[in-house]
Amino acid sequence: MILHPAIVALVIVSFLMTVMSLSGAFFGIRIIRRWDLTSGSEEQLLLERRTYLISTILSYVFVFEIGSLFLFIYTADSLHTLFVGAMCAAGALYVDPYGYPTFLLKILNVILAGLWLIVNYVDNRACDYPLIRKKYALLLVLAPLILAESIVQTLYFTQMKADVITSCCGSLFSSGGSGVSSDIAAVPAKAAMVGFYLVFTLTFLSGAVYWLRGKLGGLFSFASGLFFLVSCVSFISFISLYIYELPTHHCPFCVLQREYGYIGYILYATLLTGVVAGLGVGVLMPFAGIGSLAGSLPLIQKRLTLLCLVSYLLFTGVSIYRMVITDFTLGLL
């Protein structure tokens, strides 16, 4: 195994997060089985106190997951020199079959942790913890995923052998090759553009309707999730081309480097914020009927909608800006 300090750091952080979320999940099982708000027993008081611990833990997990996502990409990038044919992180992730799954799991866990924090926030606004069991059921889904991410990440680092010939992102994301990634790039830029703008409009309109009138919330949430996926595809398909000013450079990781003004961070941040906020609205929809939440829920959902729309607007704005100011053209726009 390559003993790079960054790898040690990532493994340690993943280990810590796994321990934290698994212990949270175990307490969660107890809470699901024994929670009874009306009882003044000492056990109930203990459980209530425990929820503070788990909320604190999950907040930290969320923050560290985001950090480890970027650290992971950066590490993959700095390791690319050890592999023939890898020009950046995209190639380094392809070195063994665990690279991309780690990346995807990290993104999934960021989103799930964010959603958990939203549900937790709403639950705490009501005076009878109406969502307590559902919340910890969600944790029982998230904790194993964090464990899986840890394992897959460790496998990625232990299975990689330096000097292995691998595809650089040129051949990985080019239309000629095979495999998932090249299928994405193979989406013709024009079709991807149309899809991108269409879904953006749908999201924006349904979001505006929901914010003003309180209707179409479900549609908006679905659209926001769809926009997240479409944006990922679109970025690889055409947005990246404009930022790199090369018709063949589709890589979603190089954009985090200094040479491109670290613009990748804005794109990632806005996209992740948007999808967590947008999906949050949908996740909260089933709880609209609960009495104790009647006062606070609609307002929270509206705020999330606003956050989602602003984030997505920023993402689209920055992307379009980069597409407009460059001399490079695909003959489209």
């Binding site: 708000l37 003044g40 027993s41 000492e42 209530e48 005076c127 104790s292 009647a294």
Partner: protein, 242 residues
């Protein structure tokens, strides 16, 4: 009005050192009155006090607060009920109520050492998120009222017994609570300071506040402004006194 309905509080239930501090108390306290809980140490009056003051949850039974006492804030899903049951409220709501409803004066004053008098008085207001300047002005006004304005920047360790007592009272009044709760307030005071304390209580009653005091000091429960004396023994009430 604060109402307790068959309230019990036990510790270490089911274990060998099981201890029932309060065993089935039903009580109704009226607003704008001075009530004294009289009883020897170990009688459970302190536990009763902490239950009334929303500091602890009862093992069984119900506690309700009059909505008016809460300064108009309702906690039961937006409905405007005259009484709010606080028995099963989660901690953050209970603490919210406690902050705005009750002011506490402890037996040993319990001022935070190492910070100034002014900061001590301001502490209860920190979680409410008001502007720092506003909070400081209010605190200074309270210190004025008790003649402690010049001692505002003094360390609490340098205060005399009487001064400390008045700082503790000022702190209790920081969030303008309708109810004052005092636990053995005169235990460490001489007769002169004890009488002064009761006079302050009378003043607070004139302002429209309620006072609930736990004490086994005759100076307290025999004071003229006391409206009602409740005897507590072994976790149960011992008849009603006037």
């Amino acid at each position: 009005m604060i109402r307790l309905l068959n309230v019990r509080k036990g510790f270490n239930l089911g274990k060998s050192n099981e201890f029932i501090a309060v065993g089935g108390v039903t009580l109704a306290m009226e607003a704008n009155r001075v009530t004294v809980l009289k009883g020897p140490s170990g009688s459970g009056k302190t536990t009763l006090l902490s239950l009334i003051g929303c500091m602890a949850r009862p093992t069984s039974g119900r506690i309700t607060l009059q909505n008016g006492l809460l300064g108009g804030r309702s906690f039961s899903g937006g409905k405007d009920t005259p009484e709010v049951e606080v028995t099963s409220l989660p901690e953050r709501f209970l603490t919210e109520i406690r902050r705005r409803t009750f002011g506490f004066i402890f037996q040993q004053f319990n001022l935070v050492k190492g910070i100034t008098v002014l900061e001590n008085v301001m502490l209860p207001a920190y979680p409410l998120g008001e502007k720092h300047g506003v909070v400081m002005k209010r605190a200074l006004a309270l210190l004025e009222m008790f003649g402690l304005a010049e001692r505002a920047s003094a360390r609490v360790e340098w205060l005399s017994g009487g001064e400390a007592q008045r700082v503790a009272i000022a702190r209790a009044l920081m969030n303008d609570p309708p109810v004052i709760i005092a636990d053995e307030p005169t235990a460490h005071l001489d007769s002169k300071l004890s009488l002064e304390f009761m006079e302050i209580i009378a003043r607070l009653k004139d302002e429209g506040r309620t006072a609930i005091i736990a004490s086994h000091d005759p100076l307290v429960y025999n004071a003229p402004m006391v409206d009602r004396v409740i005897a507590v023994r072994d976790g149960l009430l011992d008849g009603d006194g006037q």
